[in-house]
């Protein structure tokens, strides 16, 4: 099953959605400004509907089935969130309206800041960053600004990053002009304290910690590592991608993290949208709070008439690093996250508990079938090795074969420190029955690896397309539509 490009449905002169005729006198466009052609598709509305409906059916989402993509927290996205974000009183607000006319929206943002502060144990939160990676960049800029204000801006140029970290950590550090120093993991998957100690000097800007780390493990050296870095004058950046393990379990801010981003599209159930929009608010400790990107929402005491009806307004943190984007952040995502948090309240702890329960249960079911490189209590996810001794099977083959069983594959080949890594995060919204079915599929695949390895190597067999030639795509770049001599006919017998 393939689907033509929407351009291939185009017929010159065909009309889609039309607009009204002008109801005002027309003004001619000046000479020399007008564009010549506008090579957009010319299709009918039903073409559009069918095309994108068929495309959607070629996609796998959480709504279709189990999606244990490690580090991505593919939990169920409640449908009420979608309805709330579409309320006209949210969807049709212009970002430059006077605060007086958008008190509901500002109240929502204010309370979301407060909720995130409480969940993360931070002194202040900015909702600005558009995604986790932008939150990281902002957080690192805050750390740099802090050092600069203490006259150490030029000196503190080293960012310490464990080798299990997400790639965004070094990338963000580099964007902020820092040098990246890799810190190895010890045999239990923790930050290697000796290696860390060696790097701790007056050139350290900070340490970036993902906790639980990308092995799904709570770092047993966490407090000591934080202490080491703090003692040499560095600050701690927290990569909050894995907060789904920790809500109500512990507060990073309380444990010494200076700044951390939250992924609303992971922990707080907002949909990932096939690649965004996410949102990456950041929380900061007392000393970093003045550096948060702005604006943030605060109560304007002067304009508050009744104490139970505060007047909300945008303010700038005192020493803000500035804006990281135009306007006020991904408001539509905030509405969804707010709704989710309000539906759980203190019971968010149960969310994290169930997420960790599910991961440990699935790990227990897979242990003995696949090698487990760091085998201890995991948190919300865990890493196994996609190898079957005595067979040529790789993690990629297992991933592709899982598709034939109706599952989305786990994250593969990450973290980099585990060969043939399969990183599995079930999330709390999956039932025991689903986990059992997945474990059973993994067991059968291990059998198939021995009995019929070729079947795995040629997997997937039942997807809209078979295994795709990624090397070819990179070699002979085709990155946009160009009219083909003979477009594919719309209906092939199958």
């Amino acid at each position: 099953m393939t689907e033509p490009l929407i351009f291939e449905y185009s017929v010159p002169g065909r009309r889609g959605v039309e607009l009204p005729e002008p109801d005002v006198p027309e003004t001619p466009l000046p000479e020399g400004f007008q564009r010549a052609d506008l090579p957009l598709p010319e299709v009918s509305e039903v073409d559009v509907v069918r095309h994108f409906l068929r495309l959607s059916q070629m996609n796998y989402g959480v709504d279709k089935g189990f999606y244990p993509l490690g580090s991505c927290t593919m939990k169920y996205n409640p449908k009420i969130n979608e309805e709330m974000a579409r309320l006209p009183g949210f969807a049709h607000l212009h970002p430059y309206q006077d605060p007086e006319t958008v008190q509901g929206a500002l109240a929502l943002m204010y309370h979301l800041q407060e909720f995130l502060k409480e969940i993360g144990g931070f002194a202040a939160v900015s909702l600005q960053p558009a995604a986790g990676s932008q939150g990281e960049l902002a957080g690192i800029l805050m750390i740099r600004a802090y050092h600069r204000d203490r006259g150490e801006g030029k000196k503190r140029i080293k960012m310490l990053i464990p080798d299990s970290a997400h790639g965004t950590n070094p990338a963000s550090s580099a964007m902020a002009g820092l040098q990246v120093v890799n810190i190895p993991s010890d045999r239990r998957g923790n930050i290697d304290l000796d290696a860390l100690r060696k790097e701790c000097d007056e050139t350290v800007a900070g340490l970036m910690i993902t906790n639980p780390n990308t092995l799904g493990l709570f770092d047993e050296n966490l407090l000591e590592a934080i202490d080491l870095v703090h003692r040499c004058g560095g600050l701690i950046y927290g990569d909050g991608a894995n907060m789904n393990a920790l809500m109500g379990i512990c507060k990073p801010g309380a444990m010494g993290f200076d700044v951390m981003h939250y992924n609303l599209h992971k922990t707080f159930s907002t949909p990932h949208g096939g690649g965004g929009p996410g949102a990456g608010p950041i929380g900061a400790s007392e000393r970093l709070a003045p550096y948060l990107p702005g604006p943030i929402v605060a109560i304007d005491r002067e304009r508050t008439v009744r104490p139970d009806e505060p007047f909300y307004t945008f303010v700038w943190p005192e020493r803000s690093i500035g804006r990281v984007r135009a306007f006020h952040g991904h408001f539509g995502v905030f509405v969804r996250a707010y709704t989710y948090i309000r539906m759980h309240g203190p019971r968010l702890r149960e969310v994290s508990e169930a997420a960790v329960l599910n991961a440990n249960y699935l790990l227990a079911r897979l242990r003995g079938i696949y090698p487990v490189p760091y085998d201890r209590l995991c948190k919300h996810e865990f890493v196994i090795m996609g190898k079957i001794p005595g067979t040529p099977i790789r993690a990629l083959d297992i991933s592709k074969r899982l598709m034939d069983y109706g599952f989305h594959p786990p994250t593969n080949y990450f973290p980099l420190i585990v060969p043939e890594a399969l990183m599995i995060e079930p999330t709390e919204t999956e039932s025991k029955a689903t986990l059992d079915a997945f474990a059973e599929a993994m067991r059968r695949i291990a059998e198939e690896a021995r009995e019929d390895p070729e079947r795995l190597q040629q997997a997937p067999h039942t997807t809209p397309v078979r295994r795709l030639d990624e090397a070819r795509a990179a070699r002979s770049l085709v990155l946009r539509y160009a009219p083909a001599p003979a477009p594919q006919p719309a209906s092939e017998p199958r």
Partner: protein, 470 residues
Amino acid sequence: MRFIPHTEEERQEMLRAIGVERIEDLFADVPEAYRFPPLNLPPPLTELEARWELEALAEANTHAGQYACFLGAGAYRHFIPAVVDELLRRGEFYTAYTPYQPEVSQGTLQAMFEFQSMICALTGMEVANASHYDGSSALAEAVLMALRLTRGERPRILLFPTIHPEYRAVVRTYVQHLDVRLEGDEGWTREQLREPLAVLEALEARLDGKTAALVIPYPDFLGRVLPPARLRETADRVHRAGALLIAVINPIALALFDPPGSWGADIVVGEGQPLGIPLSFGGPYLGLMATRMAFVRQLPGRLVGETVDREGRRGYVLTLSTREQHIRREKATSNITTNVGLMALAATIYLSALGRHGLRQVATLCYHKAHYLAGRIAALPGYEVWTEQPFFHEFVVRTPRPVEEINRILYEDYQIIGGYDLGRAYPELDGHMLLCATEMNTREELDALVTALSEIGGLKAVAEAGKDPL
């Protein structure tokens, strides 16, 4: 419990399989002093209660569907055909992750390929990425890209002063710890700002061997469109100086005006929100980014490429990921990972539904309505309109009373959300308002604004609606 499916029995069974007694045992590795802190959050709500609360919050706002609204300034209210949301709400699209596994993600991937193709078509460029967070961060990334393309040997970036002020602020944030100088966008008088061609000339004169890029807006923050023929000269000058020309565009305007690809831009960025994305109090929006094929390896963000599967069928994959953070780590072109895929999908559906003809209609309506409104306001005593350049979406009005005051009266007495107060971002434009009109503003609304401004101006009479306004 809300979205957790386990029954107590299942929970016990799972704990037994793990080999622990209680859920708490799973957290033995968390330092005891910090374990299980109280979560001081308001008590949980059911879906019905949450709906009530959120509806109340939404109703505490006045929105652009209730009052006539003349705000633009980077976020535009356009008609969104019903078909866009109908398709966007398909769970297979919006509950998918970034398409790392192409065999089960052809829907997202093909749509992104179509998006890239459409952005190329609109901008006249050769390659577009699969979106960036928003227009402002796309500009910041374009500046970083220009620095890389000039091998870090040219630390200077020239910014046109009437690029969106918040975009310029974002660029400043991104480069604050790098050895980069942002110049050209400050220190102009009101008279100078009113003559964008003179500003352009002055900026061109500052091009030198240390300049990595000149960034120009098209149209600018004040709605003005510079002549394409003149910009072709600019491109020549920039290129002769060994620098790059970056354009910040409005995609709807490109349905009418000669696209940057045709006058020589090297990198094009812009805010894609007008392409079928609701105002939503400022986000999520859609960063657009396109360039020449020669620069593709320095382009940040996701790229979808065409390939074939093992049976020779056409298919799509993420490609050139060696540019990206998960492969290259600190050597990546950017740290970006999650972008705004769903917004790109919205734009793709929007552009498909309207097509060549529909998008032209939208742009034409905006053009006529803004000019009609400008013409009528120009005829009001006490108001002055900047009409030297052709403009799109919006235009500058000097007002006889403080803008804030006018806006308050418009809101309270006329149920109108007025214009953007230019004094907020440009002190030298204090007393000036930026007014925007799109296809969503009926003539009735435009005339009502004119009447209101006339009354607020404290000056009676003026031409009746429709009487030869220009």
